[in-house]
């Protein structure tokens, strides 16, 4: 049987819905991983050691185990202790925290690299350490790691396909379902790949815009 791309339009709505889910989950998880990354970084660097311990455990779990297992744990495991999350929420949390841990590593290094004079100047004006971190140090640290965080977010987009295993009909699972009906794996996997590529380009474009906007304020 040869290739037949003319079948695509008929199933386009299912695929587009998958695209929408992939974008929604990726953007939500990216935001969570960004904010979570900042919070984890601040805790790792500045919190009392008793507070740091549970976060070190979280960090170990999310860095040292497969993302797939983490998704199973959050979706199927938490039900047993009474936390029954919708699959897409479990997916966002899993992806978000997984990448928050990686972002946190980047942000920690960047915070330590901000010139000590910045903290001093802020403290001299009367800011507390927390205020100085929030207003002066962290914004600069985050700016410095936009490119590597951008790379993490591209990885996040690709790993978002894993949430299909807990039944979220994102792009990959949608393609699979259509293939189940049509037996046209090549056409629809290529189509899905094309959509991933386009989303990827959009993310790079956003990253580029952000980098350009902040290049002046360094």
């Amino acid at each position: 049987m040869g290739l037949d791309f003319s079948i695509i339009p008929k199933y386009m709505d299912i695929i587009l819905l998958g695209v929408a889910w992939t974008i929604g989950i990726t953007v939500s998880a990216a935001l969570l991983s960004f904010i979570g990354g900042i919070i984890f970084a601040v805790i790792a660097l500045y919190a009392h050691w008793i507070i740091r311990q549970p976060f070190r455990l979280i960090e170990w779990v999310f860095m040292g185990t497969p993302l797939l297992l983490q998704l199973f744990l959050i979706y199927f495991g938490l039900v047993q202790i009474g936390i029954d999350l919708p699959a897409f929420i479990a997916g966002i949390i899993g992806l978000g925290l997984h990448f928050a841990v990686y972002n946190s590593e980047l942000i920690q290094t960047a915070i330590l690299a901000v010139d000590k004079g910045q903290m001093e100047a802020a403290r001299t004006l009367g800011l507390s350490r927390g205020q100085a971190l929030r207003k002066v140090v962290i914004p600069q640290a985050v700016r410095d790691v936009i490119p590597p965080i951008g790379n993490n977010m591209i990885a996040l987009l690709k790993d978002s396909a894993l949430v299909s295993v807990i039944g979220v009909s994102e792009l990959t699972l949608s393609a699979q379902r259509v293939i189940g009906k049509t037996y046209r794996p090549f056409e629809f996997y290529i189509l899905a790949a094309g959509f991933y590529y386009v989303i990827n380009l959009c993310m790079e474009w956003v990253q580029h815009k952000i980098e350009r906007r902040i290049s002046i304020s360094r």
Binding site: E120, A121, G126, L127
Partner: protein, 256 residues
């Protein structure tokens, strides 16, 4: 209080970094409106003394008083933080390397702390920024980022940022040392203007001419002690101590 409250009083300041004693029993008073210069070779403890005044570099012995309130008093951690943040709002500091916030425009550099700490509205903050930046001749660059400014311009914005908190006392730590020679004068002019407005200032400097022209008193520091102090015309023309004469002689040679 029976005796008159001093404006700034440093009592037996002592500071050690490990086994290295950097400040050795320094006592010093500064009256309101007075301008005190501190000179001395590199490593003599000038910065450490200046930074002790707002507790950026806490003393290991002795006391700092500002208008009858002890800056470095002993308090439980939380209370001390509140106390020191309030004290620091009253003391402006200008650094050799400016330390402007690079992610903020000149306006934002000036208004960030007043907005955050004094709850200024955006309108009031804008007025304040215009006022302070105008004073240092930087009004035209109000919406520029530090990366778009020359060294002299950065330092003038840094002075405006400190002044925006309406400090009682200004500390300058070699404010012009990092500048290209042709940019020194614009910063000195701003400091002279503050002097005319009777701002109380403590100025660490390498520029003897500038110190002579603005300071009421000049201190010469060496190895953690104040070797000699006096009005600039005396200290520079007729120093009594050998170490002061040595330093001034070397400095003159270096300048030529």
């Amino acid at each position: 209080m029976s005796e008159q409250t001093k404006f700034v009083e440093i009592r037996h300041a002592q500071k050690s970094f490990g086994s290295l004693e950097v400040l050795k029993d320094i006592s010093l008073n500064v009256e309101r409106g007075q301008i005190v210069g501190i000179i001395g070779s590199s490593g003599s403890g000038k910065s450490t003394l200046l930074r002790a005044i707002n507790d950026l570099s806490p003393l290991t012995g002795g006391e700092i008083w500002l208008e009858g309130v002890q800056v470095n008093k002993t308090l439980p951690h939380r209370q001390y933080e509140t106390h020191i943040n309030a004290m620091r709002q009253q003391v402006g500091m200008v650094f050799q390397h400016f330390n402007l916030f690079p992610h903020m425009t000149a306006r934002e550099n000036v208004t960030m702390a007043p907005k955050l700490l004094k709850g200024l509205s955006q309108a009031d903050a804008d007025k304040l920024a215009e006022e302070q930046l105008d004073k240092v001749g930087m009004l035209e660059r109000i919406d520029y980022y530090p990366s778009q400014l020359s060294g002299g311009q950065k330092q003038r914005v840094a002075i405006a940022r400190a002044l925006a908190m309406k400090p009682k006392l200004m500390l300058f730590d070699e404010a012009t040392s990092a500048l290209d020679p042709e940019l020194v004068e614009e910063v000195n002019l701003v400091m002279k203007k503050l002097a005319e407005e009777h701002m109380t200032m403590i100025i660490v400097t390498h520029e003897m001419d500038f110190a002579a022209s603005v300071c009421d008193r000049v201190l010469f520091m060496d190895q953690g002690v104040v070797v000699e102090e006096g009005p600039p015309e005396v200290l520079f023309k007729n120093p009594t101590q050998t170490r002061t004469r040595e330093f001034l002689r070397k400095h003159l040679e270096g300048a030529n």
